[in-house]
Symmetry: C2
């Protein structure tokens, strides 16, 4: 078979080692060539109609990061207020971002104008371009993990706030605020599982044969 | 530095070797343990609030695949009709799916009810759960590539059609129809670039420093 001859071990190792990092950032520098490789990997993601609709905004500026951090913590309070006890108490113990401790903030955006109007594969599914931006994010995340870096996706924010903070045009959408940098270590289990917030479900519950089955599967 | 000691070479190799496959499927069987590893990798993706909102519908049935294939080709005609010459002529030479030739069809869905109502990290960004499903797709894609399989994402379809074809509930959203299986080879360049439909843009045009810059960068 012409498709054999590859050893997938290293890829699986990275996929399973990858974590969503909040508390383990050291703030140490990221070598420039490492960052180049990670961004090149993100940019190699599949995209609908080869539109490559993503952009990457690299943020070192402390003022920008402090402004975002303050916004995140206002949104944290909004979410906390929606919870009943004991969910609120549990949430109180969970760190939700490493914006100030991580080395770099990296915002990924989606630009629907790229390749438009005739984006091959997007006429029936407007969100297909948005999906492409997410594929780039996962490439970035795995490449960073392979380099020994940590990545944390912060989603406690309003898109309008980030758009204004970073001068993002109205027709471009911020998709993710990522924190990136060296870490002391990667935890073996997701933070939310370690804190008892949620449990991962068994894969078999996510698999359906031939068509959707109400109770999960088979 | 405690974060070194990993060799990212194999991960980059897979990220850069990965292609969106249409024409190279052989139809040969996928070993069961290979498929298990690939799905386990998809299921190990990050997700907002550890909600793991994805499901995977595995489709072997030929009748289902033929029905989808016919729908895809009706949508192909819809898109073709929107193009002017010579774009339409160029599109005519491009194969858009491997639904019938590939070994397996795999539909990834997004279920917003999973983990609801208190999904940590989703109160301000409703689409964050949808993004998670895309991260699982990229994990799946890279794992399959590492195994020597090809993956093709077909997006010439209406979500309502796929929902009805596969009995997907109204509140669950089909995100991707993927074709999966052994391939003769992976092309070195994306199909759309080989066919002169689109060119990849340089990474530097996608990088912005500190804030969005209108012309691209720096």
């Amino acid at each position: 078979m012409p498709t054999t001859g590859y050893d997938p071990t290293a890829v699986y190792d990275v996929i399973h080692r990858r974590r969503d990092v909040r508390g383990q950032f050291t703030g140490a520098p990221i070598p420039g060539d490492t960052l180049d490789r990670v961004l090149t990997a993100a940019h190699a993601a599949p995209s609908v109609g080869l539109s490559q609709p993503w952009d990457f905004i690299l943020i070192n500026d402390e003022r920008t990061r402090r402004a975002f951090h303050a916004h995140v913590h206002r949104e944290r309070a909004v979410f906390a207020a929606s919870l009943d006890e004991p969910k609120a108490a549990g949430f109180g113990r969970i760190k939700i971002d490493g914006v100030l401790e991580s080395t770099l903030s990296l915002v990924v955006t989606y630009d629907p104008r790229r390749g438009a109007p005739a984006v091959l594969g997007r006429h029936a599914i407007a969100d297909a371009g948005l999906y492409s931006a997410c594929l780039a994010i996962e490439n970035l995340w795995l490449a960073a993990t392979a380099e020994g870096l940590g990545v944390g996706w912060v989603s406690f924010y309003r898109e309008a706030f980030v758009r204004e903070l970073l001068a993002i045009p109205a027709d471009v959408r911020p998709v993710a605020w990522l924190c990136l940098g060296p870490v002391t270590h990667l935890e073996r289990a997701p933070d939310l599982e370690r804190h008892g917030w949620a449990q991962r479900r068994p894969l078999r519950q996510a698999i359906h044969q031939e068509r959707w089955h109400p109770d999960g599967q088979q």
